[in-house]
């Protein structure tokens, strides 16, 4: 296990580069994201630990980060001022390349499309809208998707279906959107509480998991949403982020306000909880699986540290 520290910053999101498996990006905020600035950290895992490659400051807190799928130098973050920032790790000039400002409240989620023909980013905001951006086509969004009746916490592209993304909201619904028509295709009242995170199964295009303030994870088959495939209980506080494994169809990881990271296999109906990691002293907000190193998980927390298993 390796750790990285970010004094006076609170970790909100961490992602491993799809190009360089030893490279991490961590979106952090000063003062828990309530006031002050944000810092994007680009880090490298070495034999002995984790070292800082570069850090970028922003004028407001940073709440999410996504690596480009087409260029190893490029990242996008979402900020408390409602803007998205595009960063280039190989550019010596300070500041982002580009700032995309349309959302009127915090951008809590950014995701770069996994579809090879696309170069799209989806953002989810507390202004209740999601926006789709093509970074190669200037600073204006392609479309704005409305429908949620509460803040959006999470927006994730389907890894299988082009132009399709899911969103998780404070209105308790999971929605699935079709960008080509700009419409919501499914609205599922998945929890009786705010849903803070969702993720798509990498091996079954119909399966999504949601994580909510009610401390539960629910795995859904979108062909039959009357009840979940599985309901995973164990966390004692809200679930802040959930990710499906890139290597196992039924394995997922979750992190929580209960300070833990948990690993689950929902095909093990008797005992789906596989492991509980209790290495933090504050909310754990960021979580990611390594796409090239099986079983490696990275997290980051409000306790000013992050961990790589």
């Amino acid at each position: 296990m390796k750790t990285f520290k970010f004094p006076a910053r609170h970790g909100y999101a961490v992602e491993i580069s799809p190009f360089i498996p030893t490279r991490l990006a961590c979106a952090t905020s000063q003062y828990y994201g309530i006031a002050g600035c944000g810092t994007l950290l680009v880090l490298e895992q070495t034999e002995t630990g984790i070292s800082l490659v570069k850090s970028f400051d922003w004028n407001d807190g940073l709440f999410d980060v996504t690596w480009s799928e087409s260029n190893e130098h490029i990242l996008v973050t979402g900020g408390g001022d409602g803007s998205l920032q595009v960063w280039d790790t190989a550019n010596p000039q300070p500041g982002p390349l580009q700032v995309l400002k349309e959302h009127t409240q915090e951008v809590y989620s950014v995701d770069w499309s996994l579809t090879r023909e696309e170069n799209l980013v989806v953002s989810g905001s507390w202004d209740r809208t999601a926006k789709v951006w093509d970074l190669s086509r200037g600073g204006l969004s392609l479309c704005t998707l409305q429908g949620h009746e509460g803040v959006i916490y999470s927006t994730l592209w389907s890894p299988h279906i082009p132009g399709c993304f899911a969103s998780a909201s404070g209105d308790g619904t999971l929605r699935v959107w079709d960008v080509k028509t700009g419409r919501c295709r499914l609205a599922i009242p998945a929890h009786k509480a705010e849903i803070l995170s969702c993720d798509w199964c990498k091996y079954d295009q119909n399966v999504i998991v949601t994580g909510a303030v009610d401390c539960s994870l629910c795995v859904w088959d979108l062909r039959n949403v009357r009840q979940p495939l599985s309901r995973l209980l164990g966390h004692s506080y809200a679930i802040r982020r959930v990710k499906f494994s890139p290597f196992n169809q039924t394995v997922l990881a979750s992190c929580s306000y209960d300070f833990t990271v948990r690993l689950w296999d929902y095909s093990r109906t008797e005992q789906p909880l596989m492991e509980t990691l209790e290495h933090h002293s504050e909310f754990v907000c960021g979580l990611d699986f390594n796409l090239q190193i099986p079983n490696q998980v990275v997290d980051c927390s409000w306790d000013e540290t992050g961990l790589v298993t």
Binding site: I34, A35, N59, P96, L97
Partner: protein, 93 residues
């Protein structure tokens, strides 16, 4: 636990300061602007994902064709039922 108590104290103080419009000690006020430069060209090939092996590719092509089917086969009655549930369950706003 004590650390949560400490966090709650400092968060409470922070909220009070911010709400009162007072100065928060140590708070950074930055004025960073975009540099409008072009991205550094990529030197690396995109790697396939673990789920993108050749066998899955063939399956996925078939599934992509039928994927629109699950959107369309969800009948209007079901969609209305879910909309009704979501509006009724936790009231307005």
């Amino acid at each position: 636990c004590m650390c949560k108590f400490i966090l709650q104290c400092s968060l409470t103080q922070l909220f009070r300061l911010v709400q009162a419009g007072e100065e928060v000690p140590g708070l950074s006020k930055l004025d960073i602007k975009p540099n409008s430069q072009t991205p550094t060209p990529s030197q690396m090939e995109r790697r396939p994902k673990p789920w993108e092996n050749s066998k899955t590719h063939i399956t996925l092509e078939f599934l992509v064709c039928s994927s629109s089917a699950w959107w369309q086969c969800l009948c209007p009655r079901d969609l209305c039922w879910w909309s009704f549930r979501s509006s009724g369950m936790w009231g307005a706003g």
